[in-house]
Every structure is written in structure tokens, then in C-alpha cells.
Symmetry: D2
Amino acid sequence: MRYHTGLFIPGPTNVPDQVRRAMNLPQEDMRAPDFPKFTLPLFADLKKVFKTETGQPFIYPSSGTGGWEAVLTNTLNPGDKVLISTFGQFSLLWADMCQRLGFETQVVDVEWGEGVPVEKFHDILAADKEHRIKAVLGTQNETATGVTSDVAGMRKALDAANHPALLYIDGVSSVASIDFRMDEWGVDAIVSGSQKGFMLPTGLAIICVSQKALEAHKTSRFPRCFFSFEDMTRTNKDGYFPYTPATVLLRGLRASLDLLFEEGLENVFTRHHHIAEGVRKAVDAWGMKLCAKEAKWHSDTVSAIIVPSNVDSAQVVRQAYNRYGVSFGVGLNKVAGKVFRIGHLGATNELMLLGAVAAAEMALVDCGADIEFGSGVAAAQAYYGSRRNVTAQAA
Amino acid sequence: MRYHTGLFIPGPTNVPDQVRRAMNLPQEDMRAPDFPKFTLPLFADLKKVFKTETGQPFIYPSSGTGGWEAVLTNTLNPGDKVLISTFGQFSLLWADMCQRLGFETQVVDVEWGEGVPVEKFHDILAADKEHRIKAVLGTQNETATGVTSDVAGMRKALDAANHPALLYIDGVSSVASIDFRMDEWGVDAIVSGSQKGFMLPTGLAIICVSQKALEAHKTSRFPRCFFSFEDMTRTNKDGYFPYTPATVLLRGLRASLDLLFEEGLENVFTRHHHIAEGVRKAVDAWGMKLCAKEAKWHSDTVSAIIVPSNVDSAQVVRQAYNRYGVSFGVGLNKVAGKVFRIGHLGATNELMLLGAVAAAEMALVDCGADIEFGSGVAAAQAYYGSRRNVTAQAA
Amino acid sequence: MRYHTGLFIPGPTNVPDQVRRAMNLPQEDMRAPDFPKFTLPLFADLKKVFKTETGQPFIYPSSGTGGWEAVLTNTLNPGDKVLISTFGQFSLLWADMCQRLGFETQVVDVEWGEGVPVEKFHDILAADKEHRIKAVLGTQNETATGVTSDVAGMRKALDAANHPALLYIDGVSSVASIDFRMDEWGVDAIVSGSQKGFMLPTGLAIICVSQKALEAHKTSRFPRCFFSFEDMTRTNKDGYFPYTPATVLLRGLRASLDLLFEEGLENVFTRHHHIAEGVRKAVDAWGMKLCAKEAKWHSDTVSAIIVPSNVDSAQVVRQAYNRYGVSFGVGLNKVAGKVFRIGHLGATNELMLLGAVAAAEMALVDCGADIEFGSGVAAAQAYYGSRRNVTAQAA
Amino acid sequence: MRYHTGLFIPGPTNVPDQVRRAMNLPQEDMRAPDFPKFTLPLFADLKKVFKTETGQPFIYPSSGTGGWEAVLTNTLNPGDKVLISTFGQFSLLWADMCQRLGFETQVVDVEWGEGVPVEKFHDILAADKEHRIKAVLGTQNETATGVTSDVAGMRKALDAANHPALLYIDGVSSVASIDFRMDEWGVDAIVSGSQKGFMLPTGLAIICVSQKALEAHKTSRFPRCFFSFEDMTRTNKDGYFPYTPATVLLRGLRASLDLLFEEGLENVFTRHHHIAEGVRKAVDAWGMKLCAKEAKWHSDTVSAIIVPSNVDSAQVVRQAYNRYGVSFGVGLNKVAGKVFRIGHLGATNELMLLGAVAAAEMALVDCGADIEFGSGVAAAQAYYGSRRNVTAQAA
């Protein structure tokens, strides 16, 4: 009898009970006179999460993939040139979308385990004297490899090259978990989803775009309707939507934002780092390596762990699920069979991750890994236990 | 204190407690090995709702609007000619989408209160000897006017004209409430959403397309990604999705389908007709008219009621909401201020509608209508009471 | 398919969604260090509902019946004399309990439809020169007949007779719906339950006793343990309980008190009167009578309606439930078959009661009553509609 | 931010999501004609859990304490002699209740860490030639010390002494987790509560009594009303209750029984033993001892762990709660400060307990225990991992 399944994939994440309760409600009239009293503050508060004062958020009943498409099709034109680097399944998919949507897509392939090659981007941008590149795309947190890129560095590359391209960031697995600063970093579009740092079920694409992107929107002739900014903007300004919104998720988002603000965004980031560092200590203790090649790429939301060569990581994930009732992330594409992933984002705490590490040890041993039971747990405990004042913890 | 708000808009509809319970659950791994055991029967059962054996359903985290776009952008090409008639806000919006997406859109304007002009369609199709029209679009139930069109008649018009155009139907406010027969009527795409007859919260576009439409898909070059059939088909066949699905709504859909099948689809339709007929008796008793001009257009899911000329229907809706805690639908576009709408679809019963009719009477009187309290209620009661064997009722 | 059952019994009442949400939570440690932060304010706030500053509340995982027993067995001694009048099933049951628990029980039988005979009580008390009567018991609201008694009058009778007996009130179906003033009226014990005015599921006996009752407790030698005040007092003072408390209901009680205070207790009482008056207008319009013989006995929480002599009220209730999906209360004991009851307490509004009245009309007609459809509804509407400023309503 | 608190007290236990969902429902009419269709099978299925064919179950809105009182006051008479042994807080409390209720209570004090002294009981019973002892009371699982007693042995002691006393068992923390066989062991009353093996919130006393106990009931003259068997029996036989039942918990009980039967009672017991054994391996690895003195007393539902003499167990529990967000049980009474308790009953699995053991290690180290991080976890893992075919686990 599977009474409880441990959920340690890098999204969907565990929905806090407060959010779950907030979503357990009857349907409501999305044209009611008092609906804007609920939605207008929601839009305003979303801006705080993105750390923007001038950006404009949009919420679609969709997914992160829809968020990517919304940004691209609302602000660019068919045939426009975009620059993107790929270093994992999700950056690959975004590049693939660019190609399928008909953009001239300059792809910089980077070894999986590294992030956005900021210097190389600088050189490409500096060489693009005619400013043919209309947008530079970056994945802040590559969920497939557990690599966090340097978004501030991307901005610096653009500025140093004195290049006017728009800067678009995929923050699906970073926003509300890892620091993101839209205004300070001059980001023109950030794409997020409900089911990661926002601690909600899947179902919303949550994006935010700059005034510069909205300016570009005016000359964008991409065929679009469902994702169109214009319909959203026209109705959102009064607190309504162009089609029936997913009110249950919006009510959940209200609860989620309240939790994030109650904890404090900076504390949320600290907690994620703290939790993640414990997992990394465990991996060290096992004598294994992360997919992320250097500490600077370490992701605080997901760890992609390279299993020993005699072990099949897909089998580890299956064993953990079937035998121990724990969901880990499989290795995708190039790293299939080679890595498994522990998600540690959203509503997590030390206790949960200690359990996850213990379960991972059992599944690894069952699948042939030569590690000692408890070794990773002990390393994580030593780390967690030495830092008793982390405000983000239980107390 | 507003302890309870009566929800009588034509969607979102009241979510049954069984469905609400089914959605109150932890998040889950959409890549788990046993996930297909849940999803594959779900796809199969959806086909029963659409009454198709050969069609292929698709479920998007989106809305009905997204469903329209999914169908159009996956099966047609930019510049293709489509035929559509408009007779209400939602058929207007679909036509508008066609134009915005770049189709050559032949719009047949029909007076609001009537439905698809089947004979006129026949004539147009018969005259289109070159078969330039690639798709014929029809709204089975126009939610703005409470008009149900004759989909079988549209098929007959196509057949009589010996025209190969695809037949696309908007069934957002009809599917699972009013009879729809995909295979028998030769429908090539049916678009629905979660928040109407499926009795779920908003958040899913639920569509189904024929093999003929899938054939057309092969030559469709529309830029698309989020809504692309190809990604869905590739992953759905094994029970998975190309991006994170809205699992909470899918679990709710399972519960909803179970309820629909337990009641029996034909009983569901009978119940909707029975409930609707009571509301229409009330309107008669008030001496008012429906927007739907003839009985053949009467919708069993929503009644759009024309208020007396001295009454502002928007004020009626506001009064009902603010003073009596009841949500009715406003008049949209051409009928703004002139009609208000009572939704009677989904998880409804006589008791609920008797309350709605009583509340409508009070709001109408408050806004200047010269009707007698209880007159509409009495007419509905007389109708409901005379038909004691309706299987769809409480017993 | 029974998607929704209208609940119009005089308890359990409809649980507001806010309360339902508050109870949908994981279990918790009732010995946790921060548990008192939750429970101590709960005890304090309960006193506001009872309008007492010096009383002490007790919460048992039990029912109203348990509350009666808790009061009697904690403050009296076997063989003690008590005075009680009976005028309905629930006052009968309380008198029966007194007898079964071994008290010398002086029962004043009153015709069903009247309430506590205050003058007669005065005479009895005045005649009891030796003060053998230790407690006077009264049912503030007799749920079986819809009769509200004069508790202030009982106090006056005691005072006028200069009698020291304790005054115990059954407020199960009145507290938090009808005004109750513990301190002002000198009540020594008030018994309530969770499932009526507190708008919670069944499962709690909620009582409050005066310092005088606590003084009597010191000399009470009744065998008791589960209901003992001493164990409760010892642990409650620090915010804990002598055995595992029903934390889910306590969390719900918190939400319920928040709602009551947000609306304002006086507004809650006004709303109940307003709703009840509409129902009474409907009964008048049907040409029927309430069980309550005079307006001064009219209960604002439940109306017991005498059906015409050719009608079986039990059949009316069955028909309403089986055919129309509405729960009404049956006639109990002496009035079985003769009355049916409409509960209108807790989280109710006009819309709900209009539906209930409409359903009652249908069930009555089906069972042979000669009334006109809509007649009761119209009378209620006229009453509700004429009083547009009732603050307790939706706005 | 405390997103999740690990609950490892020996009750209330973790409520499975299936049960939680089942309880999230509107209130219902407990006098509805179809209510017995729900309650009668519930009574029947409870008997399966108690392994009885001839016993009669009773469900009170109450707690385990209330269950004790119900049994005693319904089947004995004031002044009757009862035999009980005490070896922990809960057996102490039951003995205390006997004394407070006025029974002549023969208490056999046993060292905490041992269970019912079966041989001594035999001697006492054999010596009681006049059969003055009317009931023998035993606590199957002493929650304070983690000691499971030999109920079958108690029956043998009675039989060997040829003594007719009734045999009453407290199974609050054993029923539905540890094997219990009412008929085979000749138990005359078993007392349980909702919040342990039944995996429900607190709020129900669930008991079952033999025909012999019901026979004794006929001559019991204890003052009682709320807990009286006679009212319950009269109404339960038709599927109803003498006062408003806690329907929400009853609906939850239905879901809980379904889960227990789906897993299979024997598998449930095996799972509990398996989980418990891993915890005991961890305690061994820490070099600590259980309160239970011998393996035969080991409880499969709760482990009471003696901390090193330099450690305050109350501080361990506080630290675990305040710093790590985990609830353990404190030491009660004689073992206060000396033991802490890990509950491992109800809806548990290996993953949860591995996390609990890890958290316990951290709290122990923080409070001065000289143990190695991960040592207990490793021991539990080695045990769990070696037994891959435990059917009760995730697969």
C-alpha cells in the first residue's frame, strides 16, 4: 500500500498544505464585480517576485513551454535572429522551439554540465555589428543538468558589446527559488511556471516582460491569439482576462505568494541553498560527481548526479519509485542512464531531503553502486547540523 | 457574510464534490512508470464522450480558446479559406481568431438568436467548385445567446454539396451536456474545455480530431509548438505528455468521466433538457422572451433572457450578485444591457435552478421589471413536478 | 445523479467553505510546544460567543448529549433535585437523562408548541423554601418544535423567588444563531455542539459554566472521568487537553469563530431572524401553521410546520429527499407525521431558503397538500425584497 | 517557514490522502433514508478488523478514554472488583479511571518496560475462588513504553484458573496495526480510537464487545446516558444513532477500512513489524536501549528509546520540533526526561522512518548524545534493503 510517495523531482514540487487548502474551493464568476479586488494585487505582487517595478506580468492557463512561446511570438517576427546556447534538455527544447517557430536560430552548443557561455556570447554580440540578433535567450537553471547560469553576466555581455538585443530568460526552475532580478539585470522577458518555486500544481505559465519587450511587441506580426499580449493587456488592466482564467490556480497563487513573502524572498533563497548544499555533501560522500562541472554552476534547485559507470541511472529511478516510493528525476537525452536527479526546490526542508538521500542510497546500492549506507546522510546531517541558525528552517 | 454564492453562469460550472475531492491530492511524477495506467484509459474514455471510435483526443493545459487555436494551427495553412457564421460573442471570437491567424475567413453574419444557417452554408459550399474552403466552422452552442445549432445539418450541407472541407465544431458549452456525435455527424474536430459539461475547474482544452484532420495535419505548415499535435501524439501514445501536464485536472477529469458514465450520457442530456425546460417555463411566465428566436435553437445549457426595455440587464446581474449572492451571466457585445443569462449546465438539479429563478425574480423586480414574485418559480415547479420519473433527478 | 443535496435540517448545518478548508489539514501533535498559542485564544474567543467574562468553556470530543451529561455529572450529586419542563423531543431527552442519571427530576409538561413556563417555574421555585431544587434546566431552542424560550425570564423567575438553584441552558440549536447572554442572564451552564450555529461537522460538545457552577463542582461526587472538569481544567489552563483532542474540529472552530466575528454576532442574529421570517411568511401563504403557538415562541433557527391533516409529513420529508434531493427534518415523537421542519441556521442566505421553500412546495403538493406552486416563495421574496439593507446579506 | 512537519508521535498518526479526501465533504442528514446503506456495512466491516463474528461494535464521537469509560460503565456495577496491571502512563490512567469510577481496583504494579504479568494474573485469578474479580483489564500496547503484552496469554491465564471474569483490552495503539483476535482470544471488550491504526483524525472511540459482555450489560446499573449501549443498540440496528453522529469521521472510517482491506490486515501487520524492526536496528546502532526490556515486549507501533544519562529527552523532542520540524513523543510520568518515542504506526513507510531516524540523530547530537551521524540510518537501511520482497512496501 503506497500511502505516501516522496516527491523529489525538479517539478512539479510539493504543494504546501496552505496552498492546497486555498485551492479547495467552489468555482467562481470570473466576471464578478469584485474579481479585480483579487486579481489586481496578484499582478502587483508577482512583480515583487520578479524584482521588477516596470515589468508587466502575464498569467496564462498553460505551462512553461507555453510561456516560452508567448514571449517569442509576441515580441519577435518570423525570421528574426535569436541567439541561444544549449547545455541540457530544456535549453535544447527552447532552441528547438525557436527553429520550429521559424526564427533564424544561432545555437551555441555547450558541454552538458556548463551553463551559458557568457564570454562567447559577448564575442558573438560584439561581432554582430548590424544588430541582426533580436533576442538573446538564456536558461537560468537548466533542469536537466542542475546548472545555474549567470544572468547578470549575460546582461554584462550585452552591455559590453553595446548590443540592443532583448534578453529573454527561462526561469521555470529558478524563479522564487534562486535569486532573480529582472530590473537590475535588465531582463526583457522571464518565463516561469506554476509547478516549481511557486509551489502550485502545473497549469500556469507565469511570465513578465519589460517595457522594451512591450515596445517590440508593437511591431510583432506573428500569428497568435491565445497567447496574445494585446488581449491580455486590454483585460488585465481592469482585473479581468480575455478568456476564462484558471481561478483555482490563481487562488492558489495568492496563497503561495503570501507564503513566499511571509518567509521573505531572501530567506527562501538561503533555504534553497542550504538544502541543496546538504545534498551536494551527500554526493561528495558517495564519491560521485554532479553533472554540473564546477561549483559556480551548482544549482540550488536540482542536483543531477552522475552514477558509477556500472550503474544504470534509469534503473535507480525505477527502483526508488517501485520499491521505496520515491520519485527522482531520470537522466534525459544525452545523460539518459548516466544521471539521476534529486529535486530540492519549493516547499522543502532538511528532513525531507535526508529521507530522499537515504532512499537514494538504497536504490543506488540495489542497482550495484558501491557506497556505504548512511554515508551521504551523515554528510548532509553534518552540514545541516552545523548551521543551526538558518532562519529558513522549522523554527 | 457571503457564505455561499450561487453559480449560474454558463461556465465555469459547479464542480461536484466527488470531483473536488479527486483533485485534492499531492502532486505526482508525470514520468512515473505507472502514470500511463492512469492516462491511457482517460484518453480512451474521452472518446466515448465525443462518441467517436476513430478520433484522437488531445488534452492541453489551456482553455477553450487554446483548443480553437490548436485545431486551426495544426490542420490548416496560413491563407487557407474557412467558412464560419457568427451569431454571438463566441462565434464572433472564433471568426476573429481565424482572421488574426491569417486565414481567409468567409463570415456569414446571422442575426443573434439564430444559429448556423445550414441552407446558406450548403449554397456557399455547393458554389465553391474549386474547394477553396478548407474548413467549415460551427459553434454547436453559442453561449452568448443560448442558441444550439444543428451540427448534423452542417454535415448534411457538406455532403449534399459533395464538399471535402473539414468540419470543425466548437462544443465548449455543449459537450457532455447536449448530445454530440463525432463519428455519426462526420465532425473532424471538436473543441471543448474543462469548465463546462466536464464539471471541472478551468484549465484544460479538451479536443478530439478525426483521422481526416490528422491527415490534413501532415501538410500543415503553421508555426506552432505548444499546441503541436506531433509532440502530443508522440508522447500520448505511451501515456505521457510533451511537457508537464496539469495532473490535478486530469485526476479530476477521471472522476468527472466516472460520474458522467455512472449517470449515463443519455441521462445527462435528458437531465439538462429537463432542467432547461423548467427555466424556459419561468421565462414564459414572466412574459419575457429568450434571445433564441425559435424553439429549435433553444439551448439546454444556457438561457439568454431578454429583459423588458425599461430594465438594464447588467444592473440585474450586478444586483443579483451584490444583493442576493447569485452569479448570472451578463449580456455580451450586441446584447449587452439587453439580456442576462442563466447557466444550467453541468452538475445542476431542479432545486438549484428553482433558487436561481427565485433570485432572478428578485433582482429583476429590484431593477424595475414588472413581474410577479413566484410566477416563474411556479411555472418551473409545475413543469418539474409533472415529470416525476426523470431518471436524472435525485432519486 | 445526486450532485448536490440541499441540507435544511436543523443541524448538522452547512459548513462554510472557509471552515471546510480550515479542516482539510494534516494531523498535528497535541503536545507540541506551540499548540497553546492556538488553543488559549480559542478558549478566550469562545467566551465572547457565550457573552461571558467569568465563565469557563470546555470542549469535548463528543456531542450535545455529551455536553448535557458533562454539565450534570460535574456539578450535581446523585439524588439531587432538578426542575425541567418538556415541550419537545430534545427537552424530553434531557429530562430523561436526568432521570437515568439518578436525579430527582421534577418535570413540568408543557404543550408542544410552547416553551419554558416561566411563571410556573417561578411558583415552583418560590414554593421550594428548603431549596431542594439544585438546578433549573431550560432548552433555549427546542429543535423539535421550533420554539424559543425566554432564558432571561427564567433568570427573573429564579431571582423573584430568591432561589439559589443553578440555571442550566441547552443552547445546542441556538448558540451563535440566536442571542444568548450568559453573564447578563446569570446562566450557570450553557451546552452547545459544533454542528449548529458553529457551522462545523458534528463531533464537539462546547459548553461553558459559571464560577458558581465551578463552585458546585467542588462538592460533586458523581462518578466521572471522560467528562470530568478537573482533568480539563488542569490541562486546559496551559493550552492542552487530558486526552487527545479533536484537533481538526478545533482548527475548524477557529475558522468558524473568525467568520462569526467578521460578520459580527449581532449581525449573525439579525440575519437568522431575517431568513427565518421569510420562511414564516411562506408558511402563512400556504395557509399552514407553525408548531410554535405564538410569535413569541418563534424560533429563528428552525421552523416546524404543521402539514394539513390529509398529508403525512414523514412522506413529505421522504419525497423531498428522494425526489428533489433536499433534506428536511421529520416530525419527532408526538408530532411524527404531523410536522416537518426546515432548518435555517448557520451558514444560510436568502437564496438557499428560497430554494428550500420551493422544494417544500413541490414535496407538499406531491403528498396531497392543496397549495399553490410559488405561493410561499412569493411571500418570502416579498419579505426579503422589501428589506434591501439587511447587512447580513450577500453584499 | 514550516512547510511540512514530520509526524512521528504514536498518534494521531498521518492520515492517508485517500482518507483525507473522503472526509472533505458536505454535511449530511443522519436521518436520511439511505444512511443505513452506509452505516450497516461499516459496522459489519469493523468486526473484521477486530476479528470477531459475534462481537458488537460501537462508535462514539469521543476518544479512547471515552471508550474505556463506555466499556466499564456499561458492563460493570459500582464497587465491582477489577484486576489491572500498570506499566506505563496509559495503563496507569485506565487504572485511575477504575478507581475514580468507584470500582474496587486491584492494581499489579509492574516495572515500566514490561507488560501484563500473565503468570501473576493467573495466580491471582486462581486464588479468587469466589470470583469477586469481575473483569481483567489489559493494555495490549502500552504507548508510553512501547511494550506489547500477550493478550492470548491473558486468556490462557483466565482459562487455566477457570475464572469467569470478563477480559477487557485497551487496543488504542494496537488495533489495525498489531494482530488482535477478539474471538480466538476470548476478549470481551476491545477499546480503540480513530487516530491510530485507523489512520483518522481524533474524534471517535471505536469499541467492540462480546455477547458475554452484553449479557453483563443487562445487570449493569451504572448511571450513564451518553455512552449507554442500550440507546446505541436500539438505533444502530437500523443503521442510525441515538444522537448526531460524527458523519465526517464515519465517511473517513469507510475509506480507512477500504485501505486496510485492500492492503490486507496481515500485510498491514507485517508492514508495521518491518518498519518497526528498522527503527530498532537504528537504536541498536546508536548503542541505546529501548524502554521495552525484552524482545517479546517490543512494540511494532511505537519505540520508546532511553537516551544517554547526559541527555534530557524532553530537550531532544523540543529540538526536533523547533529546529527540524519533526514531532516525536515525549517521555511521560516516570520516564519523563529519560525516553523519547518514535511512533511508527498507521500510514507509514520506510522512507518516512528513515527521515525520522535521521532527524532523531540530529536532535540527539544537538542535545549532547555521543552518536555518529548516519549510524542509525545505515542500520535501518541495511535491514530494509535486505528484505526486498516485503509486500507491504511501495510496489
